[in-house]
């Protein structure tokens, strides 16, 4: 070996040793760092890794159902056949939609919605393309499924209202959650979650909703669920049973169809509301899936106000149906006795003006009972004049007018019973005597809802008990018994006067609703008509030949009322019928009330006997026929 080579070999060995030492130093750093990460800090990183992989998912609770008094399902949870699209499973969302559109109908709106959602949310989360498919459509998607990229048939649960418009106002509907409504309950943020927006659905939303379940899942880095680690099913919502009788409700809706009208039927003792009908209505199922803009606009523009539940949310002057209150106020104040007569010449003079009776020629001398029977205006002007507004107001309040019952319908209105104090406070003017007269015949400031007039009639017929309307029989395991009602302190002998008058209205020749009496023995009703003047036909119009309401535009025609109870011999049910701009109580409202009351009486358990008691929540539907 050459010397020079020897030298450089020695140098090489030295340098190699130095390099190796340096390398060992670097490796020692790496070993140290590994120890720090994997031993010293390990616990912290285990936590971070678990945070990464574990994710909580909420499970929507099953919504409580709503039943009528016989267990008929009014709000159901049905299998909702739908089609979802998962963007990550298709190359082009648009192409997938095109392919799907060849199989089932997809509107331009749906298409846009899906494309917008696809642009916004994460690729693996599914987008609902179409809901509530028919079985045929769903089957077609299923058969073609494998050839449709990213399209998946899926069966969810959605709210369904089997009776559609017949119950729209009572049960209400559920719809998608607004941003303002997302509160503390995280379940509200679930896509596709629905909450009650009106009616019963809104009133007992918390009970119906239930408690969300949850599951802990392991997700991958893209958020896709790999497996379930634990599951908590949550609590299903509570079922509710209503006092409503769906069969009668449907019949009432049919009878009112075509008019802007409302009808309430209630049990005069328990307050059970059997019918709460308002027309026209809308299909609540439209709202569940999201109502189309054209339909919504149509509802908004409709002069018949289909979205308004007129039974509780419509405030109208009671007209002559208020005369019973005036009569009882006069008796109560002692300014009239049942035997007092008032002479009606067709008009009277008071406070610088002439007050006319609806009957031009006048009624002659009338007792109170006959004044009710003939609905004489002059008699009640006189009665009101003697009684004074404040006594009338007090009596009206004893009959439940002027305040909301708050019995479970969220959209309920209070109505209005005027008084001297009210006028000063709200109008800043002092009360005029003439206004007392107007109030006495149910016009002027007075405002009532159909449910208030039904309850008023019930209180007249049940012997003066302050019965309240009741819509809930039970919610979940909470049973709502009908409360024992307090007396309203109107003596029976006073009540008997007006009840006799009401009997006269319906069952005596000359009564304003004699034409709308029930012929069946033992089923007779006793009622009171009401016609509320909306517009007075001017002299010029009279000269132009306009004499009758039919000749006026709908908006200007008089409102029609009829309140009644039945059977007269042993009262059990009260009814109120309102027909907006129906022109005449006796012609537009009384026949409707008669027909509906007749149906109610046909089902009256006291009449047909042998009705098994139905426990709340129990789904039993006994055959209820006339023969049974």
């Amino acid at each position: 070996m050459e010397t020079k080579d020897h030298d450089r070999y020695k140098a090489f060995t030295r340098r190699t040793a130095i390099m190796s030492a340096g390398g060992m130093g670097v490796l020692a750093t790496l070993f140290g760092r590994l120890y720090y990460l994997q031993v010293v800090k390990s616990a912290e990183y285990v936590g971070l890794a678990d945070d990464n992989r574990m994710s909580m998912e909420l499970l929507a609770p099953l919504r409580g159902r709503i039943f009528d008094r016989f267990g008929v399902e009014l709000a159901a949870n049905t299998k909702n056949f739908r089609v979802v699209l998962i963007p990550e499973q298709t190359e082009s969302v648009e192409m997938s939609l095109d392919d799907l559109a060849k199989i089932i109908h997809i509107s331009e709106g749906q298409r846009k919605k899906v494309l917008r959602a696809a642009a916004r949310q994460r690729k693996f989360s599914s987008i609902i393309v179409a809901e509530n498919l028919s079985w045929e459509d769903f089957a077609r998607v299923n058969i073609n499924g494998p050839s449709l990229a990213g399209i998946k048939p899926d069966a969810g649960v959605s709210r369904y209202y089997p009776f559609g418009p017949d119950l729209a106002h009572v049960v209400g509907y559920v719809a998608a959650v607004n941003e303002e409504e997302i509160g503390d309950d995280p379940v509200l943020s679930l896509p596709g979650f629905r909450i009650g927006k009106s009616g019963i659905e809104r009133q007992i939303e918390n009970e119906l909703r239930g408690k969300a379940g949850s599951r802990q899942v392991e997700v991958n880095a893209y958020g896709k669920v790999k497996r379930e680690l634990s599951r908590n099913e949550g609590v299903a919502g509570q079922d509710a049973v209503l006092t409503l009788d769906m069969e009668l409700q449907s019949k009432a809706m049919q009878r009112l169809a075509g008019e802007s009208a409302a009808c309430v039927v209630m049990d005069i003792k328990t307050g059970d509301v059997l019918v709460l009908a308002s027309t026209p209505a809308y299909d609540p199922n439209d709202f569940v899936v999201g109502i189309a803009q054209e339909k919504w606009d149509g509802l908004q523009k409709d002069k018949y106000k289909p979205q308004l539940n007129k039974t509780i949310g419509g405030e109208y002057s009671p007209g002559s149906t208020f005369k019973m209150v005036t009569a009882l106020a006069a008796l109560d104040a002692g300014v009239m006795s049942p035997d007092d007569y008032v002479f009606c010449s067709g008009s009277m003079y008071f406070g610088n003006r002439t007050w006319n009776c609806w009957k031009k020629g006048g009624h002659g001398a009338l007792s109170m009972k006959n004044a009710v029977k003939h609905s004489c205006d002059i008699f009640f002007y006189e009665a009101a004049k003697r009684t004074g507004i404040d006594n009338i107001e007090k009596m009206a309040r004893r009959f439940g007018l002027g305040s909301a019952y708050d019995f479970g319908m969220p959209e309920e209105k209070a109505g209005l019973v005027p008084s001297k104090g009210w006028k000063i406070a709200n109008r800043g003017e002092s009360w005029q005597q003439g206004e007392t007269l107007n109030t006495g015949i149910g016009q002027g400031f007075l405002l009532t809802t159909p449910v208030q007039l039904a309850a008023m009639t019930a209180r007249l017929a049940n012997g003066g008990f302050a019965v309240k309307p009741r819509i809930f029989r039970s919610v979940g395991s909470d049973v709502y018994p009908s409360e024992e009602s307090a007396r309203i302190n109107v003596p029976q002998r006073h009540l008997d006067v007006v009840l006799a008058g009401m009997n006269g209205v319906s069952n005596e020749p000359g009564g304003t609703a004699y034409g709308s009496r029930i012929w069946d023995k033992g089923m007779e009703l006793a009622g009171k008509t009401g016609t509320v003047q909306v517009y007075s036909i001017s002299k010029a119009e009279r000269l132009a030949g306009i004499r009758k309401g039919e000749q006026l535009p709908w908006k200007l025609r008089d409102h029609a009322w009829f309140v009644a109870f039945a059977p007269v011999s042993n009262p059990r049910y009260a009814i109120s019928v309102f027909v907006e701009h129906g022109i005449s109580g006796s012609r537009a409202a009384a026949p409707v009330a008669r027909d509906i009351m007749h149906e109610v009486l046909l089902k009256d358990p006291a009449r047909i006997m042998a009705i098994p008691p139905v426990a709340s929540g129990q789904i039993v539907r006994p055959a209820l026929t006339r023969e049974s």
Partner: protein
């Protein structure tokens, strides 16, 4: 000359069969164990399936082992004669990438030679070591530190480094440069020059920063502060550290690493496979693998020191340094000690070119060992 002559079958030289026994089979076994760890990880990451990674990795390792053995049996003098041509070829391919290269992961690294796709930068790692060893073998120790003789190694190192930086591939460029300079130091470069060179390098850093691509700067900044961009560039490092830390002492179990199996960990079958080992096998796994690597390098240094020819010594050390840099850069990277650069973990990371190149290089190391007794004059031995 015949194939037998190339294999060293003539004269007083070793016969092929003798060479075969000279191969250090313990070393070969060691490589197989390391590769086996890689197979296991690739099997785990595929959800306990051989496809798609483990199986093809096994085939590549098998081919690479064949290459290693053939390279080991070829005479060291042949490799010496081939050093410059090999470097020239690799350089041509590297220039070729400039014009005909295909892009992958945002950098031009691949070239299609019709039959196979190759990464010239990988080949250059070996070719440069060969060329430098050949050059330093041919000059005296005094000449190593003389300015005139310093020019060729500067060119041998800096030309490929410049080309690789243009691709741009920061990791490979760093590996080439550090490897080349390291070999130069081992060859006996004067300490004064080394220190003044280091000083010059520090001064050059600001200029180097300016010439970096945006994504490279991003990586460096993210390295300095991974939380800067936790869902973007910093994501890899953060998730990698979580996975390593979650592994703890004994690991989460084979196939049980949530970070790896649920895809929180990126590039887990390639550059971040060490992290996956750390998560599933814990500190025992990472220390174990590093220890095996240490053994490989120990063998390498021993092979270098026992060689009786300077070319062999330099070649063995060059391969050792390159191997060491692979390990150190990759492991430091996945632990967040240095910026994320695309350097695979030798013999374990999934990847064809890297595996073959590495086993080729280790074949040269073995060739040095097999031919350790041969003395080689400074000039070419003229086997051509």
């Amino acid at each position: 000359m015949s194939f037998l002559e190339i294999m060293g079958g003539s004269g007083r030289e070793l016969r092929l069969s003798e060479k075969f026994f000279e191969i250090n089979w313990g070393f070969i076994l060691l490589l197989c164990v390391i590769a086996g760890i890689g197979f296991a990880m690739l099997y785990s990451v595929a959800g306990h399936h051989l496809a798609p990674w483990a199986s093809s990795q096994m085939i590549r390792f098998g081919v690479g082992m064949g290459v290693l053995l053939i390279v080991a049996l070829i005479d060291i003098r042949v490799w010496m004669d081939l050093a410059y041509p090999a470097y020239g070829a690799a350089l041509l391919l590297l220039i070729g990438v400039e014009f005909w290269g295909a892009a992958g992961m945002g950098a031009q690294r691949w070239i299609d030679l019709g039959v196979v796709q190759v990464q010239p930068s990988e080949m250059m790692k070996i070719a440069m070591v060969l060329a430098l060893a050949r050059y330093f073998h041919g000059i005296s120790m005094e000449q190593v530190s003389r300015p005139f003789y310093m020019l060729p190694p500067v060119l041998i190192i800096m030309v490929p480094v410049g080309l690789v930086l243009r691709q741009p591939d920061l990791g490979t460029a760093a590996l080439l440069m550090i490897g080349g300079i390291g070999l130069w130091i081992v060859a006996g470069l004067n300490w004064k020059i080394i220190i003044s060179g280091l000083a010059l390098g520090l001064v050059a850093i600001p200029f180097g920063w300016g010439s970096l691509y945006d994504y490279q700067r991003d990586r460096v900044l993210t390295f300095l502060d991974p939380e800067r961009d936790p869902l973007g560039a910093g994501y890899n490092i953060i998730q990698s550290k979580i996975a390593l830390g979650a592994g703890g002492l004994w690991g989460r179990g084979f196939g049980q690493g949530s970070q790896s199996q649920l895809n929180f960990l990126p590039e887990k079958q390639t550059d971040f496979i060490f992290t996956m080992l750390g998560e599933e096998m814990g500190l025992m796994g990472t220390y174990g693998l590093l220890f095996l690597y240490l053994l490989v390098m120990g063998y390498g240094v021993a092979f270098a020191l026992e060689s009786r020819n300077h070319f062999g010594r330099l070649l063995a050390m060059g391969i050792c340094i390159t191997f060491f840099l692979y390990v150190a850069i990759n492991v430091a990277m996945v632990m967040g000690l240095i910026p994320v650069v695309g350097v695979p973990l030798p013999l374990v990371s999934y990847g064809g070119t890297a595996m073959i190149t590495l086993l080729f290089g280790l074949g040269l190391l073995m060739s040095v060992h097999v031919h350790r007794s041969i003395e080689v004059p400074r000039t070419s031995v003229g086997l051509w």
